[in-house]
């Protein structure tokens, strides 16, 4: 800011002088606008299309597990393999010990099963599954609270993975390390199903609808330690 009063005349005089010597003609003005547009379009394309592809790494699961097939063979649905322990903790992805019950030797003629028995069962190595729904360490997620107390079904958060015949590619954010299923496929936060994204706001959305007890002084929602540890 400056002393504009006595500046106006002298400066506009100068500017007039400047513009007379430096006036862009019509074509160069067009180029300027064109350049702006090119920059705009290129960066928009980069930001919306290229960047997301660069951001996520795509990993194949070690074994292409067929959920649909297994779901037909077990008696207790998802909980046959993904069960709650007596203390209320959740077993997560089955350990080799569970699989061995059936897969001591190759059962069928699937090459994936053969690979599983060969590379993991025989060698006694746990399968390094990539967990689509894995939450970061700061989260305390209680399956017992959701499944036992609130009687929610698996699909609400995990989608229809139980019906799948193949495991999809595991997309992982190279920077944050999150699975894309947690971050949501849509970059602008668009979601169609309840399971499309599992970030804090998505949990809170449902939690607020449930009219759970609101203890937080700061947010008048549930206390932080309900979901964090």
């Amino acid at each position: 800011m400056s002393n504009s009063d006595d500046r106006t005349q002298t400066v506009s005089g100068k500017a007039a002088e400047a513009s007379s010597t430096n006036k862009p003609d019509g074509s160069s003005r067009g180029i300027i606008v064109l350049c702006f547009c090119i920059g705009l379009v290129v960066s928009l394309v980069f930001g919306w299309v290229v960047f997301p592809r660069l951001l996520y790494s795509r990993k194949q699961q070690p074994i292409d597990f067929n959920h649909s097939l297994h779901a037909g063979l077990v008696s207790n649905g998802c909980e046959s393999c993904h069960f709650l322990r007596d203390d209320g903790t959740y077993s997560g992805t089955p350990k080799l010990a569970q699989c061995i019950d059936c897969h001591q030797d190759v059962q069928g003629n699937s090459p994936e099963e053969a690979k599983f028995v060969e590379q993991y069962v025989k060698k006694g190595i746990e399968v390094p599954w990539l967990v689509y729904a894995r939450q970061p360490d700061c989260v305390f997620f209680s399956h017992a609270a959701h499944v036992k107390a609130a009687k929610m079904d698996c699909v609400t958060c995990h989608g229809n993975i139980g019906d799948s015949e193949h495991l999809k590619v595991y997309e992982q954010n190279r920077i944050s390390g999150y699975s894309r299923d947690v971050e949501g496929a849509s970059l602008i936060g668009f979601k169609k199903h309840t399971w499309d994204r599992m970030k804090m706001d998505d949990c809170s959305e449902c939690h607020q609808k449930q009219k759970a007890v609101m203890g937080s002084v700061q947010t008048q929602k549930e206390g932080c330690f309900v979901c964090h540890k």
């Binding site: 800011m1 400056s2 002393n3 504009s4 430096n22 700061q218």
Partner: protein
């Protein structure tokens, strides 16, 4: 060499000399940057802060530079809202100094926090009850205002002014500068206050806790008031130093005296309020928590009553007395002394409200904790000084900061 960019009607030193100044300041700056990078990459273990001193030198530096940068908002407020027209001759420099102070404050905050990459949480996940949230929002907004106020000045550079778009931009911004300045003043009143609130709301710390009005502790108002009172003194002091360094008279005495007089009266009223506040705190607030005044000024190796005297008498009553009397104000030596004392006074006040708060024990079995900053803390605190010198040198060289300079220093 760079004469095309030097404002008309003024004389500047040779480019070589200018570059030497930049190089020296640049070296100091690099030292600070090195320390800053250490803090960012290795963490705050590079400092001597500890669990008793969560706030230390940096937060003091923040509070101090913002109080000193208060000259910008208050001069702007006087110039645009109150209509003290003469101040147009110093408001540019006040804005520049404010810009330096505020950008430094933001930088120091970015170093001070343990997780700089999460710094934006303060905005996104804001807790509106926290004084620090208020500080962060108003500080960044007011920094925006200062940038807006500083831009037209940059655009006045002869080289830049040739571009029509930029020329018009500067012109347009000038036209509505009063709106920006008013917004800035509004924001400033709040963040200066909330900085005071930072310490004042700590009801767990009887040394800093103050009762107050509505949600604001008395320190809220005292801080705004003191920034308005002491900030212009800093502007005037830096102006005086610039004059000494350049060997030129840059601002006319009547302008300086006007601002000094306002500052003096602000200071006088502030110091009365401060004394009342201190008396009330010492006789009512602290005793109600089981403390006597001397509990805060004894049983330790450093903090004694002297600091109270330094802040209130030497850094408050004396400069105020000099500046409100005609004689004192008109004498350049007395005036400058008053500026120096005032700057010391406000810095001591901010020191006390940050570091002594941390030092004084609250639990009966706790001990006084004194602290010495590490070199990394010192370097990063000096960094803004070097940065300020560089920015002032460049701005002075290329921008018409002092409108009265050509008149006061005619070129033959």
């Amino acid at each position: 060499m760079d004469s095309a960019f030097i404002p008309n009607g003024v004389r500047r030193c040779a480019p070589g000399k200018f570059l030497v100044v930049l190089a020296v300041a640049g070296a100091v700056l690099l030292w600070g940057v090195y320390a800053m990078l250490l803090c960012w990459f290795k963490g705050l273990n590079q400092t001597n802060m500890n669990n008793n001193y969560g706030f230390a030198l940096w937060i003091w530096a923040d509070l101090a530079v913002i109080a000193l940068g208060g000259g910008a908002f208050f001069t702007g407020f006087l110039r645009y809202i109150i209509g003290k027209d003469e101040l147009k001759n110093i408001v540019n420099y006040a804005v520049l100094i404010g810009f330096i102070c505020y950008s430094s404050a933001l930088l120091i905050l970015a170093i001070d926090i343990g997780q700089p990459l999460r710094g934006w949480f303060i905005f996104w996940h804001a807790n509106v009850h926290s004084m620090l949230t208020e500080v962060a929002f108003c500080l960044s907004c007011y920094f925006g205002v200062l940038t807006i106020e500083y831009i037209p000045l940059i655009l006045e550079n002869r080289g830049i002014d040739r571009v029509p778009f930029l020329h018009h931009l500067g012109h347009n911004m000038h036209d509505i500068m009063a709106v920006f300045a008013a917004t800035g003043a509004f924001l400033s009143f709040f963040h200066q206050g909330s900085l005071g609130g930072v310490a004042g709301v700590l009801f767990g710390r009887p040394f800093s806790f103050r009762e107050g009005f509505f949600i604001w502790p008395w320190t809220f108002f005292l801080f705004t008031w003191s920034a308005a009172a002491y900030g212009p003194c800093f502007t005037l002091l830096i102006t005086r130093i610039t004059e000494a360094v350049t060997g030129k008279k840059l601002v006319k005495d009547n302008v300086v005296e006007l601002l000094a007089k306002i500052s003096g009266w602000m200071m006088a009223t502030y110091i009365i309020a401060k004394i009342v506040d201190t008396l009330y705190w010492a006789n009512v607030t602290a005793p109600s928590k089981g403390f006597t005044l001397m509990d805060f000024y004894s049983h330790n190796a450093f903090y004694g009553v002297w600091i109270l005297i330094l802040e209130i008498v030497i850094g408050g009553i004396i400069p105020a007395a000099i500046l409100i009397t005609d004689k004192g104000r008109k004498s350049p030596a007395a005036r400058t002394t008053a500026f120096v004392l005032a700057v010391i006074g406000v810095c001591v006040n901010r020191w006390v409200m940050v570091l002594q708060v941390m030092a004084a024990p609250v639990m009966t079995f706790d001990k006084w904790a004194l602290y010495y900053p590490s070199w990394q803390e010192v370097a990063t605190t000096i960094l803004p000084v070097a940065y300020g010198v560089i920015l002032i040198a460049i701005s002075y060289r290329y921008l018409p900061i002092f409108p009265q300079e050509p008149e006061l220093n005619p070129i033959d």
